[in-house]
């Protein structure tokens, strides 16, 4: 558990808002380069690493987690050291006031979302939904906009301030657990099988721009050209007050295997059976349409790629305090490592 936390804590130190994932490349190369025979980046700012098998004609297994995090983009510098921004990826205005952010201009500076204090609001104003235009980011610089524009330009990306802490029990909290916790699971799995002879090549893709579409996953999967692949992303853990139908994924009960039109059933069944056999804690989820992950982008890359979706339950998605249970992330790592050793599925659909 400590090792998964260590990896996740490292990964969540480097921001990578959709559109500016390059910021995390040096750290990734430096820290995880040794797990791969080659590493590289794509023109659409995904990071990848490949580990070759010595076996001739070995299949290539893709392991995808997305590198980008939600954030904001500056649309205007204002007098008084304030910035107007728009969201990059999905967020809720409700949770933003007083959140701490980093503004990645010529230098990275700190900022805090500012809004009209409740004391100063007109009667009834608090009941109105908050809009992005009601919010601004306070840099604390208290200067003319011309001064601000020397460091920050229109188009500058803004991320939540990075942090990663242990909570009570086996939980941990960070603004970047979507989807860095899943990358931590994959990297941990690769550590577990480090030095072992495997019957498959491993292509790890840390894809860009998931929060804004499919640009990173589809292009990187095209480039890596795998035989089949795992997509790892976070899903909503059941939280008090949620709909009954969400009572399928709980914190601490294992990683989640999805049966969905956007995943491949035979592959998923093989992974499911393996988890049962190896006594790795799992939970099951049935999804009817879009999974809201890279699974569709990869499933429809090139001539089609079989996909299995594994999720780590998370609370407070797309906020500055995303909570996960480290046991679930470890279950995902154990499941991937077991798969790599046993290879119960080789990507070839039998009649």
């Amino acid at each position: 558990m400590n090792r998964i936390f260590e990896i996740a804590a490292g990964l969540t130190q480097v921001p990578g808002v959709s559109g500016e994932e390059e910021r995390s490349f040096p750290y990734l190369k430096e820290t995880f380069g040794h797990l791969f025979d080659e590493v590289g980046v794509t023109p659409v700012s995904s990071f990848y690493g490949i580990r070759h098998s010595k076996k001739p004609n070995a299949p290539t297994i893709l392991m995808d987690a997305h590198l980008d995090t939600i954030g904001f983009v500056v649309t205007e510098c204002c007098d008084g050291g304030f910035l107007k921004v728009l969201p990059v990826g999905g967020t809720s205005e409700k949770i933003l006031p007083a959140s701490e952010v980093w503004i990645h201009g010529k230098e990275t500076i700190q900022g805090i979302f500012a809004s009209k204090p409740p004391h100063l609001q007109e009667p009834g104003e608090a009941e109105k939904p908050m809009r992005m235009s009601d919010l601004s980011i306070d840099t604390g610089l208290n200067c003319k906009k011309e001064e601000l524009e020397k460091i920050i330009r229109i188009g500058t990306y803004v991320s939540f301030k990075s942090s990663c802490e242990r909570m009570n029990g086996q939980c941990a909290v960070s603004p970047y657990f979507d989807d860095r916790i899943c990358a931590a699971s994959i990297l941990r799995a690769l550590e577990l099988v480090e030095g072992e002879e495997l019957g498959a090549n491993i292509a790890f893709q840390f894809s860009s721009r998931e929060e804004t579409g499919i640009a990173g996953a589809r292009t990187t999967a095209y480039h890596l050209n795998p035989d089949f692949g795992f997509v790892l992303d976070v899903c909503h853990a059941y939280t008090e007050g949620c709909d009954e139908s969400r009572k399928c994924c709980y914190m601490g009960k294992g990683c989640v295997i999805s049966y969905a039109p956007q995943t491949t059933r035979t592959f998923t069944e093989a992974v499911h059976a393996l988890a049962v056999k190896e006594k790795i804690p799992i939970q099951l989820m049935g999804e009817s349409g879009h999974t809201g992950t890279n699974s569709n982008a990869i499933q429809t890359a090139r001539g089609g790629i079989p996909v299995c979706l594994i999720s780590v339950p998370l609370k407070n998605m797309h906020t500055a305090n995303e909570i996960v249970d480290l046991r679930d992330a470890r279950a995902a790592a154990d499941l991937l490592a077991a798969f790599l050793r046993k290879l119960p599925y080789l990507g070839k659909e039998e009649d």
Binding site: S18, E20, S46, M132, R153, A215, R218, T220, H223
Partner: protein, 329 residues
């Protein structure tokens, strides 16, 4: 560029029927083309060889414009139509329209519709037919029409026209194709089809070319409200796109265009568009992906018959594009 604009704006080019404009552009650029392809979808691809043929640059501007398709006729001889692309009912109604076969009509709303209730479903075309039978002699279901061409000089270097979106992008691209010195890379000037209905032409053309770098030329909102501040300002130069709803532009392209504009003293501004989509996205995700960005032309009243631009911005866009074509990354 003014002459090219007038020439391109005259063509009928509703999404799905861009071949007329493609022929005009092809004729204009044949003297500089090292290769020329019209693909099965109707995209026009003109290639100029570069110093380094190991790399490919794709320039995308779309030939199509929004319009209407005939869906049927009323007993009185009015022509029922459905929109192609993002039609603003208020901006389009009570204007003259032109059909692909040259027939003229006027786009009107059904009687007694108040402005607030007006929407595209309430628009019909009056072609002056006596009755249904008469109308059917002149048109058939599936025929296309668009607001009739309009081109008007306003004060100074500002002009209003129908379908500057994206004829003006085609003008910048064609101008660059004609006037750029030897390109840095093999450069494909692609005039795409069906952008207004989902960036369709650029998907297949980008897949054919598999570029290393992609630049789209398209219009963007100017001097209109967006999060309290205008997305771009008319007359303030070429707009380097950061994002729209379809794409987050590649940092490498944004940085390079900014540096080129600084060095050559070309006026520029940045564009963060909260809505809309461009061919940029198709290029970025073709195959294994490429570094893609967009030079946007500030335009007022987009998707109205009086889209308004400043020729000075057009000059800035063309200069910036030529810089990129000649110098590369």
């Amino acid at each position: 560029m003014l002459n090219l604009s007038k020439k391109f704006l005259q063509a009928f080019s509703v999404s799905g029927a861009e071949n007329g404009l493609a022929a005009i552009i092809k004729e204009e650029l044949k003297s500089v083309a090292d290769d020329c392809i019209v693909d099965p979808m109707g995209n026009l691809l003109i290639m100029r060889k570069g110093k380094n043929s190991a790399k490919k640059l794709m320039i995308a501007s779309h030939m199509d414009e929004i319009g209407f398709v005939v869906t049927g006729f009323t007993g009185e001889g009015f022509v029922k139509v459905a929109p192609i692309g993002g039609i603003d009912a208020i901006a389009s109604s009570f204007h003259k329209v032109r059909f692909q076969n040259g027939l003229s009509g006027v786009l009107v709303s059904e009687s007694e519709v108040k402005a607030a209730d007006l929407n595209v479903k309430k628009l019909v075309v009056d072609i002056g037919a006596k009755d249904k039978k008469d109308a059917e002699k002149k048109l058939k279901v599936g025929d296309l029409c668009a607001v009739a061409p309009m081109f008007q000089r306003l004060s100074g270097s500002r002009y209003a026209a129908k379908a500057f979106d994206d004829r003006i992008g085609c003008v910048v691209s064609a101008f660059a194709a004609l006037h750029a010195e030897k390109p840095a890379y093999d450069t494909w000037f692609v005039f795409t089809v069906q952008e207004e209905v989902g960036c369709r032409g650029s998907k297949t053309s980008a897949f054919r070319i598999m570029p290393d770098y992609g630049i789209a030329l398209d219009v963007t909102a100017a001097d209109e409200c967006g999060n309290g501040s205008p997305v771009t300002k008319l007359g303030k130069g070429a707009a380097i796109k950061i994002k729209d709803r379809s794409v987050l532009c590649s940092t490498a392209i944004v940085e390079r265009l900014s540096a080129l504009a600084e060095d050559a003293k070309i006026p520029y501004q940045y564009e963060v568009l909260p809505y809309g989509g461009t061919d940029t996205s198709s290029m970025q995700i073709a195959g294994a992906g490429c570094a893609a960005g967009c030079i946007s032309i500030p335009t007022r009243y987009i998707h109205s018959p009086v889209e308004t631009i400043d020729m000075k911005d057009l000059d800035a866009c063309a200069k910036l594009l030529i810089e990129f074509i000649e110098k590369g990354i």
